[in-house]
């Protein structure tokens, strides 16, 4: 596509982005999975006893998958509203830190800041951070965030509506959430400390299962991260700096 360099600055900046096609394609790919994952969320919500409106409100207003699954999971297991609320908020806490990164790159202000906040999630942040330039990062953030938002919400609606009509376990949909969480976790196991935290959290959560109400093992696992975060970064003998 050839566009005049004198055309509207913002538009031409986007149109002349060398990464534009690749970003759009990647965002569409992630959107596709988000739509399918949204169907899973809708079906799981319906099975947990949520109404169509409740499930869709979660996707429209909360718009952060892991928190939504945690909340609905606690409902399904008969846990207390407080355990569900804490698990959702603690899982959502990471978005605050993603927001810092996104703001450093995008520098939004005014209404754009309010809007940008809503679209700060795992995928949009990862896409933005991966870009070589600020323009590309901005395009990647909005393209990913908005595409996912629309497809995640539509998927949720479809999932609740067909949820009662389809056999979700025959379709293997109950495997979707743990598999996706494992995939999100996988990318973050970047060093020994992260692996140690994962092992500690797994052991703690497993041990707590029979002892505490549903949702509490997830909240309690946060303690492992908080404790590990206090330890200074040590340079150990015999291991390369990394």
């Amino acid at each position: 596509m050839t566009s005049s360099p004198l055309a509207g600055a913002a538009t031409s900046a986007i149109e002349s982005l060398p990464e534009r096609t690749a970003i759009t394609r990647a965002a569409a790919g992630i959107g596709l999975y988000a739509g399918a994952f949204g169907v899973t969320f809708g079906a799981v919500s319906a099975a947990s006893g949520l109404t169509t409106t409740q499930a869709v409100v979660l996707s429209i207003v909360m718009y952060t998958g892991a928190s939504q699954f945690a909340l609905v999971g606690v409902f399904a297991a008969g846990g207390s509203p407080l355990a569900g609320l804490s698990a959702a908020l603690l899982l959502g806490l990471r978005n605050a830190f993603y927001g810092v990164r996104v703001t450093q790159i995008l520098r939004p202000s005014g209404v754009r800041r309010l809007l940008a906040a809503h679209f700060v999630i795992d995928e949009s942040t990862a896409m933005a951070i991966a870009q070589p330039t600020r323009d590309a990062a901005g395009y990647a953030f909005w393209a990913t965030g908005i595409t996912l938002y629309i497809l995640w919400t539509l998927g949720t609606l479809a999932g609740v509506l067909i949820g009662s009509g389809i056999n979700t376990s025959a379709l293997g949909l109950d495997t979707a959430a743990p598999a996706i969480f494992l995939a999100l976790l996988w990318r973050q196991l970047s060093d020994g400390r992260a692996c140690a935290v994962a092992l500690g959290a797994a052991a703690l959560a497993l041990g707590l299962i029979p002892l505490v109400p549903a949702g509490v093992p997830i909240v309690a696992a946060a303690a492992v991260a908080v404790i590990a975060g206090q330890l200074p970064t040590a340079r150990r003998h015999g291991t390369p700096d990394q």
Binding site: G29, L32, Y33, L50, Q54, L58, M62, Y63, T64, A66, F69, G73, A77, P81, L82, G84, L85, A87, A88, L89, G92, L93, R94, A96, F97, Y98, G99, V100, V102, T103, A117, H118, V120, A170, L171, G172, L173, D174, T175, A176, P178, A179, I180, F181, L182, L185, Q188, G200, A201, A202, A205, I209, A214, P217, I218, A220, A221, V224, A225, T233
Partner: protein
């Protein structure tokens, strides 16, 4: 489930508030190394706990469905081989569905 509305709205607004705080707070406040380290480790701990409870927790009892375990196992192999989220998602649910169908 009208009783569900209170936690749904509180958690939804709370999660948006956390996102808004991230894009609004002075970066210096969140730049402290300890805060940064903890922030990076929180999702690791909680996602791990989510996977563990999804797989092994049924109303405060240990139980596991081997079809689900196998599906997640296939997903892990796909991750190991560098598969994208879409691929992991599709392979995991397809494996579980196929195993249930065959059983």
């Amino acid at each position: 489930m009208t009783t569900a509305w209170a936690p749904i709205l509180a958690a939804s607004l709370g999660c948006y508030g956390l996102k808004l705080a991230g894009v609004s707070l002075p970066a210096s406040l969140l730049k402290h190394p300890r805060v940064q380290r903890t922030a990076g480790l929180l999702p690791v701990a909680m996602l791990t706990a989510l996977v563990v409870t999804d797989l092994f927790d049924t109303n405060r009892h240990y139980s596991a469905d081997w079809h689900t375990l196998a599906g997640v196992g296939v997903g892990a192999v796909a991750l190991r081989l560098g598969g994208s989220l879409v691929v992991v998602f599709a392979l995991a649910i397809a494996s579980t569905a196929a195993l249930r169908f065959a059983a």
